[in-house]
């Protein structure tokens, strides 16, 4: 077990280094001067530009730049954004908001996805199953920003059941509608995954054997079908946490949520390379950690993994 986790952990190190190197390379080493780009349409102030070049170590060779950048990440000394605020402080402000949003979306998709998927799987081929299947396809097919506008317009503006935009405090209540929009795509996916998994397990030999032992239908479903079907679902949910945090850009834009995605989007539009790199780095780190979480969950759920070398 511990060997397994250690192995997975060691495998993530090259992924983290590689991904951050890739982003760093893309932002700072492709043709085009990133510092000039920082000024956008404004005339370049050479004194400020020189200061920035030193701040981002652009006077150093590329490898040195990257290593210094890595060091800055682990010391939380990420430099300053356009308005002169420390980037670390900005991240500390926006990440909790996005984390709250992502966890709410995750709870929504897990609870409803698993319940609907289980019922659909147990009633394979019946009316409920067919309806849910088509509905989930439609949800997957509609792009998230269209869904966002649709729900914002109908529920937020026309029906007035929820605030169409989020206050700067971004309370749990404010975030309900954005969380549903963010989680809808994954909800449909969780539903379909649970359904497939349940159907597969229903015809498994051990389920038939469990029935032959004289267990009640309820117990067979709960202990043997559902428990085994949840293995792929829960591992998907673990990986989805990272994806939701990184994928909240559109949702946060529509509902004006003061989170990571919104900040990243503004940084992109104004060409703030250092801020973009810092945010993406943290997102890659979250991705790596959520992958590690998935491995832990997997080992916890499936005893066959625990003893595998």
């Amino acid at each position: 077990m511990s060997t397994y986790i250690l192995k997975r952990f060691l495998q993530l190190i090259p992924v983290f280094l590689g991904a951050t190197l890739l982003v760093y390379f893309l932002v700072f080493s492709l043709p085009g001067d990133p510092i000039v780009a920082l000024f956008g349409d404004k005339p370049v102030n050479e004194a400020v530009a020189a200061k920035l070049r030193i701040q981002y170590h652009l006077d150093q060779p590329f490898w040195m730049q990257y290593l210094l950048y890595l060091k800055s990440i682990f010391t939380f000394d990420l430099g300053q954004d356009f308005s002169g605020r420390p980037i670390a402080a900005v991240l500390g402000e926006v990440f909790p908001v996005t984390a709250r949003l992502a966890v709410m979306a995750l709870v929504f998709e897990a609870v409803f996805g698993i319940i609907f998927g289980l019922i659909a799987g147990l009633r394979k081929g019946k009316f409920f199953d067919a309806t849910v299947l088509v509905a989930s396809l439609i949800v997957i097919g509609i792009p998230i920003f269209v869904l966002g506008f649709l729900l914002q317009f109908t529920i937020g503006v026309q029906l007035g059941w929820a605030k169409p935009t989020v206050s700067s405090a971004a309370t749990v209540q404010d975030l309900i509608l954005p969380a549903i929009v963010l989680g809808l795509g994954s909800f449909a996916y969780v539903l379909r995954l649970t359904r497939t998994s349940v159907i597969e397990n229903m015809s498994a030999d051990y389920v038939r054997t469990a029935t032959a032992k004289g267990l009640s239908r309820f117990r067979v479903v709960r202990v043997h079908i559902l428990r085994n079907s949840l293995i792929p679902v829960i591992t998907f949910l673990g990986a989805d946490l990272g994806a939701l945090m990184g994928g909240a850009i559109v949702t946060e834009g529509i509902f004006n949520v003061p989170g990571v995605g919104n900040r990243l989007y503004r940084a992109v539009l104004s060409g703030e390379g250092p801020t973009v790199v810092s945010i993406v780095t943290v997102l890659v780190l979250i991705y790596c950690l959520s992958n590690l979480l998935v491995d832990l969950l997997y080992a916890w759920l499936d005893p066959r993994i625990r003893y595998d070398s």
Partner: protein, 571 residues
């Protein structure tokens, strides 16, 4: 074991059958409409009696048994007849009633020990929930007792382990423990040992016999092996294409089969055939007479030179264990033997014996760690790529899984033509002619050429694989469990084909198998392997008549039906 007569004679009329199936019909809903899987099936199981249903795949034997415990697949239903359990018709009983009956009145031991235990729960938990659901005491001691009664050593500790920590035989013991834990009056055993090695198979069946005798449990045994059925059951029911064609006391059925299908089955079952050869030898009849697949076969033994010599062959695999560490696993350890041209040499062993690894190395698909494989005087490890290409024309394989050995995207013509095309033999017209000839040789209609593997049965695919192997006119054919996955009659058909081709074309076979019964039918020489080592080698007659090693004796004893007395002239 063979005591059915006494049981029957003590006033059978006074007792009520425990299970009586009358005119049972079962149908399945498929995309092509309602299909009848079972028709007019009937059988009777008296309390304490063991009844075996024998049949090939698709005969309806498992379907009939599953109907008796109410576990038909969701698209299947009982469309006629009755299933009387202790006088009560349960063919359309409510699910509630069936849950009451399952476990403590009707138990089940399923076929495949690998897939029938839930991988995420501990063994003890899976036993315990059975006891609990049937209202029996379910403490840790009770669970351990149930497991140890099924022959599982160190049961209390084992109960805390997961299925993947158990070997196949141990899992099957756990499943037997579960099936018998609530002391049912009827146990349905669906091919309970067909997935296990022969020696393990025998131990488990012996133990099952002992337990059911002690508990007075009646057993409905489902099997494809007539020898096994006759050995274990009081009565045998033969099913064919969804119908019961013959039923009666085991020995009588074997000795006096009446229905043409039963006759054919009795004549072909390898365990019986091998037993018959034994009986014939004891009576002084030459075994070749019994083996001859066709009247006009002349045994080709004109060139008795050694086409293949294996010298001190070793194969060590590095198994990775954890980070950067690895342990050595010796799959094949110092194996030497030789194969004479035009003969059949069998390598016999259980799973993990290294027999298939030897085959891979002889085929030059896997490099030996040390030792030599000398083919026709040349060490195959010294061949360059051009010589290997030429070598491939002369040594060809046939594999076990008829569903895996043909490319599903290729039609039969392309499949058989591929070797010719690869070796640039002939033009399009001559290649087509050759393919037609090859199909004739393996007794497949030429119209098969345009078909795809998914349209053929297992036996037909295996015959296509033989045709493909013959396309390059090879000298040696390596059969890696080539008939193990086939039904008995089809297996006999393919074995006859192989024997006929050998005599006609002077082929040399290296036959890898776990099935000693088959070996007796076809091999001239036998090599017995155990855990990578060659433990015994010799002519088939010598090995079968006077085995020298304990392991060989155990293997021979494990052939089902070894205790049966059969007259040789039954065939």
């Amino acid at each position: 074991m063979n005591a059915p007569v006494e049981i029957h004679e003590e006033g059978a009329s006074a007792r009520r059958p425990l299970l009586e199936i009358r005119d049972l019909a079962i149908s399945f809903k498929t995309s092509g409409g309602e299909v009848n899987a079972v028709r007019n099936a009937h059988l009777t199981v008296m309390p304490g009696e063991t009844v075996a249903i024998v049949g090939e795949s698709g005969s309806g034997k498992s379907t009939t048994a599953l109907a008796a415990i109410g576990l038909l697949p969701s698209n299947g239903r009982v469309s006629g007849g009755q299933i009387l359990f202790d006088g009560e018709d349960i063919s359309h009983a409510s699910e509630k009633r069936m849950i009451e009956l399952r476990g403590n009145s009707i138990g089940m031991v399923p076929q495949d020990p690998m897939s029938n235990l839930n991988p995420v729960w501990k063994i003890g938990y899976q036993v315990r929930e059975t006891l609990k659901a049937n209202g029996l005491p379910d403490s840790a001691d009770d669970v351990a007792k149930v497991l140890s009664e099924a022959g599982l050593p160190d049961a209390a500790r084992r109960a805390k382990q997961y299925p993947h920590e158990f070997s196949g035989g141990m899992r099957q013991r756990a499943l037997i423990a579960i099936g018998l834990s609530c002391q049912p009056r009827l146990l349905i055993a669906d091919e309970p040992t067909s997935a296990l090695d022969v020696t393990v198979q025998r131990q488990i069946l012996d133990h099952l016999d002992k337990m059911t005798t002690e508990l007075g449990t009646a057993v409905l045994l489902i099997t494809h092996d007539l020898g096994l059925a006759a050995e274990r059951a009081d009565k045998v029911v033969v099913m064919y294409r969804g119908q019961v064609v013959e039923a009666g006391p085991s020995l009588e059925l074997l000795q006096n089969p009446q229905h043409p299908y039963t006759k054919r089955l009795v004549a072909s079952a390898p365990s019986l055939a091998s037993r018959r050869i034994q009986a014939a030898k004891e009576l002084g009849i030459e075994s070749e007479d019994l083996l001859a697949p066709d009247e006009d076969v002349v045994v080709a033994s004109s060139m008795p030179d050694e086409v293949l010599q294996i010298e001190n062959l070793r194969k060590v695999f590095k198994l990775r264990s954890g980070l950067g560490r690895s342990t050595d696993f010796t799959a094949v350890d110092d194996v030497s033997f030789s194969v004479k041209r035009g003969t059949t040499t069998a390598i016999v062993g259980e799973s993990g014996s290294g027999k298939s690894t030897v085959a891979q190395m002889v085929l030059n698909l896997l490099a030996p760690t040390s030792g030599k494989i000398i083919f026709d005087g040349v060490d195959t490890s010294t061949l360059n790529s051009k010589e290997i290409f030429a070598f491939r024309r002369r040594v060809q394989p046939i594999f076990q899984d008829p569903y895996g050995s043909l490319d599903p995207m290729y039609n039969i013509f392309r499949t058989i033509e591929e070797p010719l095309r690869t070796h640039k033999i002939g033009d399009k017209a001559s290649r087509e002619k050759k393919v037609r000839e090859l199909l004739d040789q393996v007794a497949l209609p030429q119209s098969t050429m345009q078909r795809y593997p998914n349209e053929l049965s297992g036996g037909q695919r295996q015959r296509v694989a033989i045709a493909r192997a013959l396309a390059l006119d090879p000298e040696v054919i390596i059969c890696d469990e080539a008939v193990s996955a086939l039904d008995v009659l089809v297996q006999a058909q393919v074995l006859n084909l192989l024997a006929e081709l050998q005599s006609r074309l002077g082929l040399t076979y290296l036959f890898i198998t776990h099935d000693l019964a088959v070996v007796r039918q076809i091999a001239d020489h036998v090599c017995v392997m155990e855990r990578g080592k060659l433990v015994e080698t010799g002519s088939t007659d010598d090995v079968f008549d006077s085995p020298q090693q304990e392991y060989t004796k155990a293997l021979l004893n494990a052939i089902p039906g070894a205790g049966l007395m059969l007259p040789p002239e039954v065939a």
